[in-house]
């Protein structure tokens, strides 16, 4: 809890001249900048006064008076961060099929640390000997080929920042009552990393794909031999055989020694522990593109091959578990992303959707990557509902939860991208609400 509150520090509000950009206290960025400069000046003057006392040792904290611990071979997070852990729905340590989620509400920025990337395994994490692992390309190709990891290391590589999102992410929004769980529990089947690897098109070109080929059946080397049909078009476009994640060899939970990365496509298709690519003229109705990851509609028919993750956003600060500490200035912060490209517009409402403020995006806005948005908010202490909505560069938008739900059979939870809302009560309690 202390960790959460630390992230939700109330900001300096002295001398702030409010210039509302939407209803219920949403404030323009330039106003905040002036306020921040002013208070920074006050703080600097205060530090100068404190330096008048020159008895250094007596008041110094103990970590300034004794040498720190030695160098380490592989660093770990601070012990004070021990509660920042992946979120499990099944007991940690159990193998088999299941998930763990990224604790989005305990993180900042846009890059997910390797050890906190969400997991979705279908029969545990395989312990693959990279020296015995090869990537096979066969089927409708002129030259069936096997690539060792050593061979792939000599190929030209690319580095891109992309999110991976399970298509079941946020599926609990299909439940009748809003679940009172953290933003990480709600949306944490979502992570974003810097991926480095070899463009799949380069390898397919060497195998020489037949003209009639239309699909590639990708298979993992896990104990489920997880398999998906992928359009050849995507494989020849921006698909990557990823070897590195955030600068280090890809983590076992994300597919060591190599995974397929299909920017913007649902997580399950980004086959981990990639072993085999079978080039075909037809999709194969694999278990994970029929039984799972298909969208049942009220008519009883189901949508299949819904590959793209839609335009989506979630406010992370504040969110469930981060209760507000009285009226004053806060920063609303959240994540926006889309499988269709860059986020072109983020809007935030603090009055339940009556008025919306356009957020000025300051950080990097990359295609198929998490974008962080921030907006100052003066909360006056009255019950409020905050929500965000985005538009992507392809024109994709977020539906209301109600209109999203209306498309589907009861309980259908794949590809939820409806607008999410947090209700803030007068005592500062933050609740998940269907607004």
């Amino acid at each position: 809890m202390g960790v959460i509150m630390g992230n939700l520090e109330k900001m300096e509000s002295a001398k702030l001249r409010e210039e509302p950009v939407a209803g219920n206290g949403l404030i323009g960025r330039r106003t905040l900048l002036r306020g921040a400069l002013f208070s920074a000046g006050i703080a600097a003057a205060g530090v100068g006064a404190a330096q008048a006392d020159d008895s250094v040792g007596a008041d110094a904290p103990e970590w300034m008076k004794t040498p720190g611990r030695p160098f380490s071979a592989y660093g770990t997070p601070s012990k004070w961060q021990e509660k920042v852990q992946r979120i499990f729905t099944i007991a940690p340590g159990r193998a088999g099929t299941g998930v763990s989620r990224t604790p989005l509400h305990l993180l900042e920025g846009t890059i997910t640390p390797g050890g906190l990337h969400f997991e979705r395994h279908h029969n545990g994490v395989p312990d693959i000997d990279p020296g015995r692992h090869e990537l096979f390309i066969h089927g409708m190709v002129k030259r069936p080929l096997a690539f060792s990891l050593d061979a792939l290391m000599r190929y030209p590589m690319e580095t891109h920042i992309h999110f991976v999102e399970c298509s079941g992410n946020s599926g609990t929004f299909s439940s009748a009552q809003p679940p009172q769980i953290t933003a990480g529990e709600l949306n944490g089947l979502l992570s974003c990393s810097e991926w480095t690897g070899v463009r799949l098109a380069t390898l397919l070109a060497e195998a020489s794909v037949a003209k009639e080929a239309k699909w590639v059946i990708a298979e993992g080397a896990d104990a489920a031999a997880m398999s998906r049909s992928i359009p050849l078009e995507k494989c020849m476009d921006d698909a990557m055989v990823a070897l590195y994640q955030n600068g280090e060899a890809i983590r076992p939970e994300q597919g060591f020694p190599m995974r397929l990365l299909l920017p913007g496509f649902e997580g399950n298709m980004n086959v981990k522990w990639l072993r085999r690519l079978n080039v075909t003229d037809t999709p194969v109705d694999a278990r994970d593109e029929t039984s799972h990851y298909t969208e049942l509609m009220p008519s009883g028919k189901a949508r299949q091959f819904m590959f793209l993750q839609g335009a989506k956003s979630a406010i992370i600060k504040p969110s469930f578990g981060m209760n507000m500490k009285g009226p004053g200035l806060y920063e609303i912060s959240g994540l926006a992303w889309s499988g269709a490209g860059r986020i072109s517009k983020v809007e935030v409402s603090a009055d339940g959707g009556k008025t919306w403020a356009l957020v000025a995006l300051k950080g990097p806005v990359m295609p198929m990557a998490l974008t962080r948005f921030r907006l100052p908010w003066h909360w006056d202490g009255r019950p409020s509902t905050v929500m965000s909505r985005v538009t992507d560069e392809a024109g994709g938008t977020q539906p209301t939860r109600a209109s999203w739900i209306a498309q589907y059979a009861p309980g259908q939870g794949y590809h939820f991208n409806g607008i999410q809302s947090w209700g803030i009560e007068a005592d500062g309690t933050v609740k998940n609400v269907y607004a």
Binding site: T97, N123, E134, F136, I137, H138, G139, R143, L145, A146, F147, S148, A151, L152, R154, Y155, P156, V198, R199, L200, A201, T202, L203, L204, A205, E206, A207, E219, A223, A224, A225, S227, P231, E233, M236, D237, R276, N278, T280, T282, V284, D285, A286, R287, T290, S291, T294, L296, S299, G300, K301, A302, R303, Q304, F305, M306, F307, A409, P410, G411
Partner: protein
């Protein structure tokens, strides 16, 4: 047009072409795969039956495989618990209380064969013989009467099975249907 002008033009054209190739030139380090290697690794089965191996299995043989390798997770007669049910729910998809099982939801019998052969049983995947996979596929589909109790599955008969939900999927790739 003179020859020197063509010579000048060529590098310009090449510059324009290069960025459109999505993937750079590779060093050609792939090891050629042999037909035998491919035969052993290729476990993909398509709905039209391509990829199905030789062998066959009956419903009664499948009941024995099921009792030995599946029942502890999927319950008697595929009723489920502790893991997913494999039977039942046929006709429930539009009812407001849909029950999705291989019998009620999966569009192709080949999917059941493909999935069992690659991923089941979960504690020792890829341990069943092809005959056992044919047999247990036949047994599971016999429980809901999708195939008769005297069915024999092989590479020819399995793709001919008419699954109850065979027309239940609408492809949204590359675009939503109109």
């Amino acid at each position: 047009m003179s020859t020197p002008r063509f010579a000048c033009l060529f590098p310009v054209v090449a510059l324009f072409l290069l960025p459109s190739v999505r993937g750079a030139q590779g060093p050609n380090l792939g090891r050629p795969l042999t037909t035998e290697e491919i035969r052993k690794m290729d476990i993909t089965v398509a709905p039209d039956g391509r990829g199905l191996p030789p062998g066959n299995g009956t419903v009664s043989a499948g009941a024995a495989v099921y009792a030995k390798s599946c029942q502890s997770c999927h319950g008697a007669q595929g009723a489920g618990k502790p893991q997913d049910p494999l039977t039942g729910g046929v006709g429930s998809l539009a009812s407001g209380k849909p029950v999705k099982t291989p019998a009620s939801y999966w569009p192709a019998a080949t999917t059941l064969f493909d999935y069992v052969r690659r991923a089941m049983p979960i504690t020792s995947p890829q341990s069943l013989t092809n005959d056992e996979v044919y047999a247990v596929t036949a047994y599971i589909l016999s429980i809901d009467g999708i195939v008769p109790n005297d069915a024999v599955f092989d590479a020819k008969s399995l793709p001919r099975v008419k699954m109850p939900n065979r027309d239940g999927f609408v492809s949204w790739w590359p675009k939503a249907p109109r």
